[in-house]
Every structure is written in structure tokens, then in C-alpha cells.
């Protein structure tokens, strides 16, 4: 374990960061204005996620609040950011004033460097973000790679909400850099051989980024022989054990099918998790523990080893086919949450 300072990385981080740059441009009043923008950007992204916009998003606040560097006549005055998505569908310019906002519904032709002469300006375009303050321009370094912006990372107080968000935001369309690597083909028909490590990493990373006050650790032993996929610990005495099982067909690099997992696999997972929970009672008796079974469902109808494309009906055949668990541990045990099935969409051909 190295506790030495990595001077090069530290310097690089300080030079790349926008906070010192804003201070250099406008000193303390600049940081005061920046604080206000920093509070508003996540509020904006809650109502209109940045990746919904192909064109530039510009959010700025003038050092002098009464300053209007853009024509006020062409702006819409709003007091509630929830109005924003109805008006601005593809890029916008938002001036943050004390008590209200001025909104220009197009960012076409906007001269950001001109705005930055008396304002602090934030821009977002195609996953690239910048802060401008006078002549200072800083690109925000991506340190959380799976999010279009560091200001749109959600924050969850409980694991169930986080898992539900992962189901919709990440698993459904395989829209995670780690998760996408679990697939053997671009149409998402076959998984790679042994895709569980990618899935585990993807989910653990997501939970690590989004859960408040929780420690997320991959593959923890509940005893010497049974590792659980993910362990989440809160406040030193509450913990969740997450077991991940995947359903679908997997292929090796040479094209032969290595596994075809159906309902029975999910049921095995439920049994396994129930056993983990029993072991855990011995290993961590002072913890309040809950078990979560996550089933990543990549089942497709009628696949053969040669299948390379799929139509919608076959691709979505299992979308609503729930798994009948027997026993239903989530009904008979108080430490077992209802299993969460995450159906993963294929890319299908429109013709049937």
C-alpha cells in the first residue's frame, strides 16, 4: 500500500479542475456564483437528462445578476425548471438569475466565450462538459465513465430504488460500458461464455456510484466456499447480499453454445441466496441482513447456434414471462426481498 503523494497526478488534477480556474478568473465572487450554478445543474438534469439533447446545453450565471448578455426579448422567463423539457427539446441556453431563469430554446450560434466575459458558463454537448470563466476554459474530466455528466448521477437512499433504476437505465438497453461487454453479438442474442463477472462489475459499479452512505463490495465470502456476488453495508450494522443470476444462451468464442439457462437457474439462485442468508446469520450475527436476487434475463425465443438476427416477437417473447418460484422465499422469510428480474432487450429486425 503506497501512501506517497503522486505529485504528477495531483498537479494534473489541479490544473485540469475548473474550481481553481474560476477562482483565477473571478476570485471569491466567482466561486460564490459557481456554487449557485453547481446547485442548479443537477436540478436541470433531473427534469431533462443531458443525453436527451444532441445539441449544446448552456447554463450560465452573470457575476452581476442584473446583467443580460443575451437579448431578453427572445427569452422565456421561467420560475420552475419543470417547464424546461416542454420548451427545450434539443439544446438550450439557460441564464440563472436570482429568483427566476431566462430560457432560450436553441443554443445554435451561441458565442460562449463572449458570455464568459462577465459570467460563469457551463456547457454540455455529446458527453463533453466545460466550464468557461473569462479566458479560462476547462473540460470536466470524466472520472465516472458510465454517466454522461457527473451532475446527473442519481443518489439513492435505498437499495430497492437503486436496483429499479439500474433495471431501467442500465440493464434494459445494456447501456453500460461494462454490461455491453457481456454480449457475444451486437444484436444481443447470445451472451459470452461466463458473462457473470461483467454483470457483477456493472451492477457493483452502479451501486457504488449511486448509493448513499453504503459500502459496495464485489464477491464477498459468506463462508469459506460460498461467495455472494455483491455485499452492501450501511452504517456498519446493516447489510444486503446480492446474488446475480443470468438467463439466456451463452456462446464461446468458437461459436458453440456453452449454456442455456432458463427458469430453473433463477430458482437455483433463490435457493443459493437462502443458503447465503443462513450462513450469514452465523458469520455476521449482529448485522440486520437482507437478501436480493437479481435475475438478468436475456432469454430469446427459438435461438439456434446459427441465429444472427431476431424479430421483435421472438426477441421480446420472455419480456413479461415472470418466474414462478417454489418455495417463494420472499414470502416465507423476512430476510429475503422479492426477486428482481431485469429483462434485457435485443436489437431486433423490424420485418417479421
Amino acid at each position: 500500500m503506497n501512501s506517497q503523494v503522486n505529485i504528477e497526478l495531483l498537479k494534473e488534477t489541479a490544473e485540469a479542475d475548473f474550481l481553481p480556474a474560476v477562482y483565477k478568473a473571478y476570485s471569491q465572487p466567482g466561486l460564490d456564483v459557481l456554487r449557485k450554478i453547481l446547485k442548479i445543474i443537477p436540478e436541470v438534469y433531473q427534469v431533462t437528462p443531458p443525453d436527451k439533447h444532441q445539441k449544446k446545453i448552456v447554463i450560465f450565471k452573470a457575476l452581476n445578476d442584473s446583467s443580460r448578455p443575451l437579448s431578453e426579448a427572445t427569452a422565456k422567463k421561467i420560475t420552475d425548471l419543470r417547464e424546461l423539457p416542454q420548451c427545450a427539446r434539443n439544446g438550450f441556453v439557460l441564464q440563472c438569475c436570482d429568483g427566476f431563469f431566462l430560457l432560450w430554446v436553441s443554443s445554435d450560434g451561441i458565442d460562449v466565450s463572449q458570455l464568459a466575459k462577465e459570467s460563469i458558463v457551463y456547457t454540455y454537448e455529446l458527453c463533453k462538459e466545460y466550464f468557461f470563466a473569462k479566458d479560462e476554459i476547462k473540460e470536466i474530466r470524466k472520472i465516472l465513465l458510465n454517466w454522461p455528466s457527473i451532475f446527473c448521477v442519481p443518489s439513492f437512499s435505498n437499495l430497492t430504488d437503486a436496483l429499479e433504476d439500474y433495471r431501467l437505465r442500465r440493464a434494459r438497453m445494456s447501456s453500460c460500458l461494462l454490461f455491453v461487454e457481456a454480449w457475444a453479438d451486437k444484436s444481443r442474442l447470445f451472451l459470452k461464455n461466463g458473462p457473470e463477472s461483467k454483470m457483477r462489475k456493472s451492477l457493483a459499479q452502479f451501486l457504488d456510484d449511486t448509493l448513499r452512505d453504503a459500502e459496495v463490495r464485489e464477491e464477498q465470502n459468506t463462508d469459506a466456499t460460498h461467495p455472494v456476488d455483491i455485499k452492501v453495508t450501511w452504517n456498519f450494522n446493516r447489510l444486503a447480499l446480492i446474488e446475480i443470476k443470468w438467463l439466456g444462451d451463452s456462446k464461446a468464442d468458437d461459436g458453440h453454445v456453452t449454456a442455456q439457462y432458463r427458469d430453473a437457474r433463477a430458482k437455483e439462485g433463490a435457493q443459493q441466496l437462502a443458503d447465503y442468508m443462513d450462513n450469514n446469520k452465523v458469520q455476521a450475527p449482529i448485522h440486520t441482513s437482507l437478501g436480493y436476487l437479481v435475475v438478468i434475463d436475456g432469454r430469446r425465443q427459438g435461438l439456434t447456434p446459427e441465429t444472427a438476427t431476431i424479430n421483435r416477437d421472438a426477441g421480446f417473447f420472455y419480456e413479461n414471462k415472470e418466474i414462478e418460484y417454489n418455495p417463494k422465499y420472499h414470502e416465507i422469510r423476512d430476510d429475503f426481498k422479492p426477486p428482481i428480474r431485469m429483462f434485457v432487450e435485443p436489437i431486433y429486425l423490424n420485418d417479421k
Partner: protein, 205 residues
């Protein structure tokens, strides 16, 4: 016995974090109090003058018994309230905070608490937590896999070394501690990334 500094810090942390993220989790009181204490070292204050101490848990998280006691007392007095494991100030708590803020000793703590809590405007909570766990003291504790007292003399000198480098890297004297706080947390988070994926990091940057 309730330590007045810990009592005040909990009110101040709760007041600030509920503005930026809505509420405060139990562990976040400890986390931000520890970050605030470290920022006081950045300002060359003595760890012994902070008013209360911290230990590192075997998982590598900062923990203060005095913060724990203060939280319990604040609940008892009705100054903070808990809803599903998250805390917010009550109206009475807000009044108490405003009243305590009149004292110079408390005002002096504000820049550290503000510097620590303002990092939540820039960085997600998960990232702040993971970054701080890379801090030399907490890394050491995690390596030992046993809880121990933080900020002893030897370890403080290591932190001072870090902060001298941080101050040099920023290159300008900034009164507002949000600047060193965020830069340092980003740096710490990246040290974790560098260690986990050294090749990827080199090719990316």
C-alpha cells in the same frame, strides 16, 4: 458527555447537506466531520485542537464516538429528526444552529465544514466516500484490517506532506476551502483508479 464541537458540527453538517442533497445519512456525519477536520489541518491547525477525535473502522471508514453521541443527543432534543435512516434539521434545530453560529469559536469552524460539505455540490456522495477512503490515514487502517485511532503524530505528518503538495499543485492561495477539498478528493479517487487499472489510466490521460 456531549462534546460541544461535535454537537455544533452535526448541526452545521446537517444544515449544509440538506441544502445540497436533501438530508444526511448517519455515516455522512462522520465522513464530513472527518473531511472538515482534515481541512483544518490543511490550514495548519492542530488535530488536537479540533475538539474531538476519530477512529478508522476495519472497513476503512472514519468514525467518531463523539459525533455518535452528539447525533443521539440532537435527536433527543428534537433538533434533528430521522426518516428512514436519513436526518434533517427541525425548525428548532435551525434556530439552535443560528444561535450557536453567533459564537466566534463556532464561526471559526464554518470554513472547514463548508469546505467539506460544498464538495457535495461538485461530486456525487458515492465518489466522495470512495475518494476519502483512499486518504493515507484511512488506507492505512484498511490495510491493517482493524480499527484504530486516526490522526496520530506520525500520520498527521504524512497528511501535511499531502497537503503541502496539494497547495503547491493549486498554486494560488484560495480562502474558500471548496477548492482544495474538491481537487484533493478528485485526486484521491483517481489514485484508486490508477491502482485498479494502471494501463487504462495511462492510455486515457
Amino acid at each position: 458527555m456531549v462534546v460541544p464541537q461535535a454537537f455544533y458540527d452535526c448541526l452545521a453538517i446537517c444544515g449544509r447537506l440538506e441544502k445540497s442533497v436533501g438530508n444526511v445519512a448517519h455515516g455522512e456525519f462522520h465522513l464530513f466531520a472527518y473531511l472538515a477536520c482534515l481541512l483544518s489541518l490543511y490550514r495548519k491547525k492542530l488535530a488536537a485542537d479540533w475538539g474531538y477525535g476519530f477512529s478508522g473502522t476495519r472497513e476503512g471508514a472514519p468514525y467518531s464516538m463523539d459525533i455518535n453521541t452528539a447525533i443521539d443527543y440532537l435527536i433527543l432534543l428534537g433538533l434533528i429528526e430521522e426518516k428512514e435512516n436519513y436526518f434533517t434539521l427541525t425548525d428548532k434545530g435551525r434556530e439552535e444552529y443560528a444561535s450557536l453560529l453567533q459564537f466566534l469559536t463556532h464561526q471559526e469552524r464554518e470554513e472547514f465544514i463548508d469546505g467539506a460539505c460544498s464538495s457535495s455540490l461538485v461530486l456525487p456522495m458515492g465518489l466522495i466516500r470512495e475518494a476519502l477512503y483512499q486518504e493515507p490515514e484511512l488506507r492505512h487502517v484498511k490495510k491493517l484490517k482493524s480499527s484504530r485511532i486516526l490522526l496520530d503524530e506520525l500520520q498527521v505528518s504524512l497528511i501535511h506532506e499531502h497537503f503541502a503538495a496539494l497547495s503547491n499543485a493549486i498554486g494560488i492561495e484560495v480562502k474558500d476551502l471548496i477548492v482544495p477539498s474538491v481537487v484533493w478528493l478528485k485526486y484521491l479517487f483517481q489514485t484508486r483508479e490508477v491502482e485498479s487499472h494502471p494501463d487504462e489510466f495511462t492510455s486515457q490521460h
